[in-house]
């Protein structure tokens, strides 16, 4: 029963931190553009969990509202990202970030 009833702020934060870590891991280690962007989504969702958890435990609606905006913008970002990645695929025939380097460093 404890598991169901004593979920506190820290539970959420831990989940969020794990998600954040996973996202960051994906961003850092993966070369595929889509996977990197998915990593970003993970981070955004980690932030959402944070916001909602804090909102619940601090009181106030700001966090909820904030997370709503985050979701929306994440979706918009995903849309733009998808469009750009499609364009990249048409141009380069790959979505591997490391092989897209026609611009010299």
């Amino acid at each position: 029963m404890d598991f169901f009833n004593t979920i506190g702020l820290n539970h959420y934060l831990v989940i969020s931190a794990i998600l954040f870590g996973l996202g960051l891991f994906a961003i850092v280690t993966r070369k595929n553009a889509i996977v990197v962007l998915m990593g970003v989504e993970l981070i955004l969702n980690a932030a959402n969990i944070n916001l909602l958890a804090f909102s619940k435990y601090n009181g106030g609606m700001e966090g909820v509202m904030f997370s709503l905006f985050v979701i929306v913008l994440a979706a918009a970002e995903a849309a733009i990202a998808l469009a750009i990645v499609i364009n990249i695929y048409k141009t380069f025939n790959t979505v591997d970030l490391s092989s897209i380097d026609s611009l010299k460093e």
Binding site: I43, F66, I80, N87
Partner: protein
Amino acid sequence: MYELPSGAEIQAIITTLKSSAAYYLPEIYLSALFLVLILVDLIFRPKKHHLLSITSLVGLAGSLWFIWQQHTMAGQEIFFGMYVIDEFAIFFKYFFVLSGILTVFLSMSSDELNNRASGVGEYYVLVVGMVIGMVMMASSTDLVMIFVSMELVSFSAYVLTGYLKREQRSTEASLKYLVYGAVSSGLMIYGFSILYGLTGETNISEISSVLIARGYDPVTFMIASIMILTGIGYKVGAVPFHFWSPDVYEGAPIPVTALLSVASKAAGFALLIRFFYVAVPHGTEAVAFTPGSEWLMLLMILSVASMIYGNVVALWQKNVKRLLAYSSIAHAGYILLGIIVMDELGTQATLFYMLSYLFMNFGAFLVAVIIANKTGSENIEDYRGLGRRMPLTGAAMTVFLISLVGLPPTVGFIGKLMIFSALLAKGSVFVWLALIGILTSVISLYYYMLIPLNMYLRESKQPLPDTIKTGLLPRLVTACLMLLTLYFGIFFTPLSDLAHFAVTLFGNQLY
């Protein structure tokens, strides 16, 4: 869990919203312009860009009137404190609209855009969209608003960067911009969430007062700070968040590069100033272990790294846009110097520097557009022998570059002068920063002068016609920018007063 507000409360909310809307007219107007542009594009399906560009020009110019109206309203908080109108914000509104106008001019002159097979329908719409976002960034005082406006800018910029979608480099640039942008905004939002957790507030002035009143865990705050700084640092293109900028600047259409390097950067700085001065609690002196000094330290590192890295790496660049990209990293470093000072004079210097950067950088990019139109190239090598053949353009480019170096009698010199004045006015604390700034600007001379060097001192390998004609509009705008750069280099009082006037946040003088 959450109770719906009572009827009276709802009425109060609506009253606030209604009254706020009156203070929100420039943004509303610009959004309407955004829609009108879409409709113009849809209804008239213009083959040429003139209709669209002129509509956006007129529209943007019209918004200046609305912004002008706001001077009487300065010091207002609207939308429950999410948004403020103060002289600082108004200054930046002018700035962004002006840069939007200049971008439109640049775009009208740019062949790479106008020769695009599928037209430039969305282009101007997105430019206006970016202007709206930046205008909102300057006024936002709430984490939500900050995030939303920043993303509006970013999204428009992603698309604009990849606007030449048939060109490999443009596409690639947009991807890189997107990936770095998405990651940094993700980090920033995570930082925001931590900050929200620390304080339970999203309004930045509330955050500051809660942090002061309640105290905070320095480590947590530092982590949040770094994450937030990632997002803002990405916008301003400071080292180490600069990775995107050379590639993006090189790949994007030149007008977009100009917009990114000036306006988007300035928007980042506007945000940084507001956020740093308002949200972050700090002492007035840069003493270690006072609250906020961690931010100061971070900013110093950013600034020094940007100045050194940007200027040194620029030495090896062969592409003008890339060169200007690194130079803009370096300039971000200089502007950060002004912010570090954390006083009125510093902010004034920062604002002035940005204004000067607006003139000179747009000028330099305009010349790059003109030359790219004629030679189809952005390589410095291909600038050989052009100075004599395009006298006005060459002279203008020289003036802009001299201004970027920071030599008199140009506006860039005054910008540097004010930044360094602000640093030295603090006594000897920041002298080392000023020294680094000075030394790096000497380095910058070398690479900036590469362009006049090629334009004047070297003769091109291919035979070129004796004179190269350019269009009337680009010439006119170039000449205007050149004269402004020189004029404000000699009589800079108006600009400086403007900047000084703008150093009021929330209707209060800073400090």
